[in-house]
Symmetry: C2
Subunit: 265 residues, 2 copies
């Protein structure tokens, strides 16, 4: 793509009378104080804020009712489709609105922000990306677990637990993730916990590797449950761990025991 | 560790008359508006803010001179050791100060925050962790590149480019990272670019895989330079890319071309 192409398209966009803009904004892990200053300002200045349940109730409560649109659920109770959200963003921007599309964590980490950005661009709508604090790293951090550590982990890999690792067509390569020897963080990590810990064992990971589950990170009822690759499924079951939760797998999860007595909220 | 151990140690901490606290705070990628509300408040309320160069000049300028302590460089010009920083944090907290240890990006992603937390806990000092927006994900996002994408990447792995991949003892397993088929983000990714792109080629990665270098992400002079695993070293050399920069390797880097005309800053 050349610069002159870009200029031509920008003109076409002006001709379409699209003065609105969509801000794809990350809301962080849930604590309203973990919003960025930019996210807070854009929410306050927006004409409309489209959101689902993922930002969490403490943040959603701070958005004036008059400009909130919950696209996570419609009147009838059924889930709103991604197609509806995409079209609504374009419609609002074309009518000249300043739109915030508020997403849990970071908009571009398992948030379908990339798909929304592509849809907006295809329809000639200007957009901005406002990165947020991702729960994938904040969850461990708030539990006293560093994602990387000079002695324990030279890399951190983030995946989603929504996929079923027993399916043949699973896109997540648990063998390769285990082979990195780095920290593995699983977002939405509760439902498929038995399957992916089993996949990691089959990939040769030691059953004694520490695992921590961080439930509702940064929110008032945050809780941490700890075990090992071998035991964590039983522990999570016994402790009734529920979504949303982030799973941290790796030696770094053991660091929590060294620091937790002095870790304040 | 049992609950009763924790109680005993907390008492010992009280006896030591340690009323100060150290906040390990992430400053985000560099734009002062990408500080979290909590980071901003803690900086404003702190007695002392210890920092190095990594938060970037735009953020450092917002800290009142009277409470800044630059531990990245001392009077004589030599670099301050990590040991000095650790000891200074303990000393300040023990004298009852509210201390912010401000770190670029997120304190627990290649920030040695884990080591500082462990040192504080060993010395009976209370601390908090305030996660920040990591440059590893914000850099790509601000360039229009989603770290993950349903069609292109089921995982994102973050490593540091400070290690030499040609050393036998390199802790980063580039073969395993390539095998994940996910996005790879390299922090501090300029210096060793030739070495790790070569390591990825040798691991079987296709030379046509898109690569983007995001220089000074979120700062006024942010710049993006694009190429492929095969070409990026030449391109970076020609364009004089300089640290700090984040490297994004994977099909997601190609998404930028789909959206860049409509991506606003």
């Amino acid at each position: 793509m050349t610069d002159s192409d870009a200029e031509t398209t920008a003109e076409a966009s002006d001709e379409a009378d699209s003065n609105g803009v969509v801000h794809l904004v990350g809301s962080g892990p849930g604590d309203p104080e973990l919003l960025t200053l930019k996210a807070r300002r854009l929410i306050d200045e927006a004409d409309v804020v489209l959101h689902d349940k993922l930002p969490g109730p403490e943040i959603i409560e701070t958005i004036p009712d008059g400009k909130r649109e919950d696209v996570g659920k419609r009147a009838g109770g059924e889930r709103t489709s991604q197609a509806y959200t995409n079209e609504r963003l374009v419609e609002l921007a074309r009518s000249g609105k300043q739109v915030v599309r508020l997403k849990g964590g970071d908009p571009f980490v398992f948030g379908r922000g990339g798909e929304e950005a592509a849809y907006l661009a295809e329809h000639g709508v200007d957009f901005r990306v406002v990165p947020g604090v991702t729960s994938a790293l904040a969850g461990p951090a708030l539990a006293g677990i560093p994602a990387t550590h000079r002695e324990h982990a030279s890399s951190v890999s983030v995946v989603t637990g929504h996929e079923d690792p027993t399916k043949d067509e699973s896109a997540v390569d648990w063998d390769a993730l285990a082979a990195t020897q780095g920290t593995i963080v699983v977002l939405m990590g509760v439902g498929k916990l038995p399957e992916y810990t089993q996949a990691l064992r089959e990939a040769g990971m030691d059953g004694e590797v520490p695992v921590a589950l961080v439930e509702r990170a940064s929110r008032p009822d945050e809780r941490v449950v700890a075990g090992t690759v071998e035991t964590i499924t039983r522990v999570a079951d016994r402790e009734n761990v529920e979504p949303p939760a982030v799973t941290v797998i790796g030696d770094v999860a053991g660091e929590r025991d060294r620091v937790r007595e002095f870790l304040r909220r």
